[in-house]
Amino acid sequence: MDGPGGRDRRELLKACTGLLTGVVILGSPLATLARNRVWAVYLGTFSTSQANTLTSMLRTILPHDRLDDLAYAQVIQALDERARTDAEFATKLMAGLELLGDAFSNQSEPERVNILKKIESSEFFRTVRQKGVEVLYSTAAAYSYFGYEGEAFSKGGYLHRGFNDLHWLPEVPAEDSGPLPGGG
């Protein structure tokens, strides 16, 4: 991820096969996390149109409508990185994308689902799904979108930050629970 612009960008573009760009939606929780609202993912294997097909595919397999495009772009970045060093992997993905064709992105969601159902047991589909699940839910955008707070050691755990703040069910009697540490 880089902010676009400047000489670094021109150097990058020379070696780059495709480009995904976007703007983090203002007012989204991610906007406060991102260094720049504008983001770009430079690709070394996929063309821009292949990357767009992959985005459509991922948004069909793992649809979260209001999850920022950046999270999906990070999956494509991970696929692209692997494809750069693993020729067999790259060939498999290229063949799958060839089969889907550029038109895939223009189909309606039910049509895209029908197309993917036919190939859901293929290695291509399973590879994209697996990488999607591995990367998508590990992104800062996903943490923010799902309200997941992540590691807590650096903040003193959840002991005083809501681990027991549920009040719509009865409290557990002392004999089946335990006292808070420190407080006696």
């Binding site: 839910y137 590990s138 992540g150 807590a152 050691f153 027991n164 409290e171 557990v172 629970s177 335990g178």
Partner: protein, 522 residues
Amino acid sequence: MTSIPLNDERAVAIIGSGAGGGTLAHELTRRGISVVLLEAGKRQSTETFSQVPGEAFQQLTWLDTRTQSGDWGVARDFPNLPVWHCKTLGGTTVHWTASAPRLQPWELRAKTTYGNVMGSSLIDWPLAYEELEKYYQLAEARLRVTRRNGVPGLPASNNFKVMYAGAKKLGYKQVHTGHLAINSRAYDGRGFCIQQGFCVQGCKMGAKWSTLYTEIPKAQATGKLDLRLEATACRIEHGKDGRANAVVYRDRQGFEQRQYARIVCVAGNAIETARLLLLSESSQFPNGLGNSSGQVGRNYCHQITGFVWGIFDKPIYSWRGATLAGVVEDEAVNNLSRGFVGGYRMELVTLDLPTFPLVGLPYGWGRDFTSVIENYRNLSGMFINGEDLPRSQNRITLSPQVKDSLGLPVAHVHVEEHTNDQALRTHAQGQMRRMFEAVGANRVVEGPTPPATHNLCTARMSRGPEDGVTNQWGQSHEVKNLFISDGSALSTPGCANPTLTIVALALRQAEFIAGEMKAGNI
């Protein structure tokens, strides 16, 4: 740093530093016995544990290839990862969730209690509960288990409040925040639980008992322990007299080394323990060391496990808090009216966001799939921990095709579920569903059986060699100075999470080994 020469034939060699091996190393060294401890992994610490779930998985997990076959769900959902245990100093005690219940007396008499169950290879343990009880007490004190010896329980989390209310609506009585080897108060130089929820990534407070920062440093402090990291055992050798006399291993640089030893104790987790014995074949032991009766690797048990997720219309934030701090114990009984033998526990569970769709819901796609994850903050989780039946054909063998980086055949895991296993799982899933629905869940989703973390019984204790590998001390029936010191030695799994039992058996075994050494018997 204590250094024991490779040709020192007086030392005890222990392979593996987890609950069994790490505890045994401490118990022998504090009795003045010299120990060489071989650990395949590296050393991490409370400072180095990664808090990025994917990184922590890479940091701690035994990632060497295993192959598998059979009809259990793991073969379908996790074809490349049949089992999930650790390769790091402290072994699987680094990532365990610290549930430390005891087996019950009748579980040690499984064959007598359940009768002849067709298609199983049940046996009774060669020791009675009464002989183990003292060591359970010692283990509970050592691990500072909550709700034992006056140690307070952990406080109830949001996730547990859901479990508790549901369980009470169904009339369950034995419901509490668990018998956990997690400090509810600071103890022994280790901190107390601050409800981080990152138990599986390694407890950065050191509140969770792990041999990494308890037994192993204490063993080192005796001056009797030679700890060798990144030392991968490849073969156990024996002399003409049929006694084990050396462990051949690869060191950090990949060079082959041979550590001579008076006694060899294997504690590499049930998969690698069985594999190592099978790799140690010779003209005298053509089927593997101590395996003349062909029992090594058989009767592999993994306990019946599985997730059930309840989705509510309000937030639970289940990730806040100790992962497994809650249990319903009422079903940990043998009650044939349920349609199966053996019992199960229902335990609280949560998974961090990156791990949830990988392990807690590893199948499906599209709107139906993501509709569960969309509700991540409104999810509550429960986990089955039930007894599975031993079967002779469920076993660890050496892969005929696949070899590891050292050129040695990898372990192959084969599991065919017994209909009893399936009936137990279905019953447990049904009860969890009822519990969630009783407190207003909108939807209940059954998750998979995850890669097995409770790997057991592949060198089980038995009265004789015809149906097991070791006697009641974990001592090989055939090779008197070869011991099994991990979960492989359990005769049957029962429905208790196994670590406390492994520690109790290691404490008992250490006493036996020290006595036998003194008497000159081994």
